[in-house]
Structures are given as C-alpha cells and as structure tokens.
Symmetry: C2
Subunit: 213 residues, 2 copies
DNA sequence: CAAGTACGGCACGTGCCGTACCGATAGGGT
DNA sequence: ACCCTATCGGTACGGCACGTGCCGTACTTG
C-alpha cells in the first residue's frame, strides 16, 4: 500500500529541511549550495533533487514547515487587539532574528523564480489574506470598522508597510513599529475630526512616540 | 584636466548599462551573466568589473540611470491629486511592462547583497521618502491632512501596499489599484462617521469598484 | 612624438549545477 | 524466511559562469 510508501523518505525529507534552515542561518542563503546541504545532511544530491526542483523550492518548504501553528487570528471581540496579536506572531516568526534573513531571501528568490512566487502566494500569502478578510469582515459587521472599507485591500494595506520595512529599508520590525502602523491606518490620513474611538487611537500613538525617544 | 578624463570610459559605461537593460529585458535578470553583457556590449569583462563590483551593482546603476526625471512631486494645492500623480509616474516607470521585472529583480538582489540594499535605500528610497514627507508636511500645515498623522510612516504606508502588490502577489500595478489604495488610506479603517471630504473619497472608491466589474 | 592608460580578447583555475551511475540496504509481498 | 524493488549515500561527470591575469592595441594626454 501507499500508507507508508517511503518511511525512509519522510525521515530524510525532515532531515534535509532542518539542515537547510540550520545551514542557511549559519552562512546565509546566498552562500548556501545544494552540495553543502547534502553533505551536512549526510544525503546524496539525488535525494534532494528527487524532492525539490530548485533551491528556492527547498527553502520554501523548509520555512513553511515552521508555520505549523498557521498563525490564526484570535477573536476577542476587539478587532484592533486581534489584528495586533496576529501580526505580532507573524512578525516574531518570520521577521525575527532567527528566520528573518531566510524569509527575506525567500521573497528575493520569488523575484527570480516564478514557481517560488506562485507557491509562496498559494501556500502562505493567500491563506493569511483569507484569514485577515474573515476577521475584518466580522469586525465590520459589528461596526468596529468603517462600512466603506475595501476588504480586498486589507492584506495589502495592513501587511504592505511591514513588508516595506522588512524588504526595502531592512530596519528592525519591532512591535512598536507595528503599533504605530496600526494606529495610523485605523485613524486614516485624511483631516479630522474623527470619532471618539479614532481620537483615542491617535492619542495612543502619540504616547508611544514620546515613550520611545 | 579631469574635465574629460576618460571619454572612452564614459561611453563604455553608458553602453554597458544600456546593454544590461536590453539583455535583462530579453532573457531576464536570473539568466543574465556578466559574460553575456560583455559579449553583447563588445566589452571585456575587466572593463565591467572595473566599474561595478557585482551584477547587482550594475543593475542598480542601470535602472537608476532611468530616473533622471527624479520623480518629483507636483504641488497643485490638492495633496491627494499630487500624491496620486507622483505615484502614477513612479508606478509607470518602475512597475510597468518594460522595467517592472528588472526592478523586482533588483529588490530581490537586495535581499542577498547588503551593498545593493544600502545603495538602493540611499539613492532611491530615501530621496523619495524625503520628497513624500515634504509634500505631506505642507499639506498637513494647510489642514489637508490629519494633524495627528505620523509623517515618518508616510513612505511605508503609501508605498508599502504597492510594493506588496509588486513583490508578493505580483499582480499588475494599475492606476486603478493606486486609486483604491489612496482612497482607503485617506479614509482610514476605523468606523465612521468621517467628515464630508472622506465620505466623498469613499464614494469615489465605490464608483471605481463598480466601474471595473 | 612619447608616455601612460583604458581597452578587447583570450585563457585559466574554481565552484557549483544537475545528471548519471554505482553498490549497499531496508521493507514489503508472498 | 525469502527475494524484489525502490530508495539510499557516494562519486564522477560535463557544462557554465565566475573573477583574475596577461597581451597586444588604440586612444588620450602632455
């Protein structure tokens, strides 16, 4: 049967992905070679190429294997708190000191390799976007969000500034930065006056700014 | 004199950069080799390496040589119109069909090569951010922007969603998409009611959505 | 005209790619 | 308990592009 068609295979798969993350952290993705992964993992190159068609595909699988928790949204009834909590978790996992550089390298690889780009979207970005839309839709129905807000843009607007910080300026992606972005987005750029809720949000932001200086 | 210290040199520099863009468009940056650029340009490899230390540095200079217009902001008095016009120009230049793929490759290279990342920020991102902050600051002083808006975040919040679309989902970056993002950002995510101006913005967005279906 | 220099072309050694072949071995089917 | 087959680690291979060094040439400068 095909129940356990390759018990050896599953072991080797995990070992190779683990080695990829280890070695990638040590020497960086740019210096990472398939031969080095094979040597460190005690595997033949053919064993790797049988599973992954490219270095990018290997990195994608290796990084997504960390995502077992699936970064789900909580639902405490407070949409701002829930969004913030989910983004904290995502930022800590993929922009933290351990895997941040490798995740950046993965996005970089997606600019050269269309297969990686498609797989990254289908297996990570799209599911995250779906969860974001679902949580925000519930909030909008409860009056916690502007009824005019375009939910289709929510992933781009919420995550875009964070990816900008991660990929372009490449400065640290702290919780404090996430807080400032969320405050600005919920308040909006347009001139006031806003409702009580948004003025409170702006006040929070000012407090956060003064506390960091 | 050093007026024209190396007329040969300047000619070769421009020819090599032009060849880089041409060949990069034809076969893609990933398949682009220094040897191919040298052969097409009729140059020796040494001539290229004397000017640029890596393929990424060569691409950076080649792409930024297109940016002679410097993508300055207009100032018509209407901040939304001015921001929109500037973003249109930037999107048309760097996310259009001719150079979009190469610009994506440049950002991808910045994930592997720290020198490219630093140079990209210093020579392109930071100047753009400065111009954005200056234009928005004037608008805020004129009451066209929320007095609480955090100007330091303006580049990330305005450009982040666009870079997300360009680098992550890799879907077309149309003017219509820019319009929707701007409308959402100026209106804000938080619950209403907003002032007359922001309600009009939201109405514009709804009209744009219905017209594209 | 002489000195200096950037140039194109070529060759070289290195590193990694992706494939092919090898003998060894572990599991499943009977 | 046995063989059979697929996968395994290891090694060798051709190919490609890298980055450097050298050579003879042509142009600029003074």
């Amino acid at each position: 049967m095909t129940d356990t068609p390759r018990r050896r295979g599953a072991d080797r798969t995990k070992a190779i992905m683990r080695t990829t993350l280890e070695l990638g952290q040590e020497i960086g993705y740019a210096n990472l070679s398939m031969e080095a992964v094979a040597a460190r993992a005690g595997a033949g190159k053919h064993t790797i190429y049988r599973r992954w068609s490219s270095k990018g595909a290997l990195l994608l699988d290796s990084l997504l294997s960390l995502n077992e928790a699936h970064l789900d949204y909580p639902d405490t009834g407070d949409v701002v708190a829930d969004v913030r909590a989910q983004i904290y978790a995502a930022v800590d996992l993929l922009a933290g000191p351990s895997y941040g550089a490798l995740f950046r390298a993965l996005v970089g690889e997606a600019q050269h390799d269309r297969q990686v780009a498609v797989a990254l979207n289908e297996r990570f970005i799209a599911p995250q976007a779906d969860k974001t839309v679902a949580r925000l839709k519930a909030a909008r129905d409860q009056g916690q969000l502007s009824p005019d807000f375009d939910l289709d843009l929510s992933m781009a607007i919420l995550s875009g500034p964070l990816y900008f910080q991660l990929l372009i300026t490449q400065e640290p992606l702290t919780h404090e930065y996430v807080d400032r972005v969320l405050a600005a987005l919920f308040a909006g750029m347009g001139p006031g006056p806003r409702t009580r809720a948004s003025r409170a949000t702006a006040a929070d932001r000012r407090a956060a700014r003064s506390s960091r200086s």
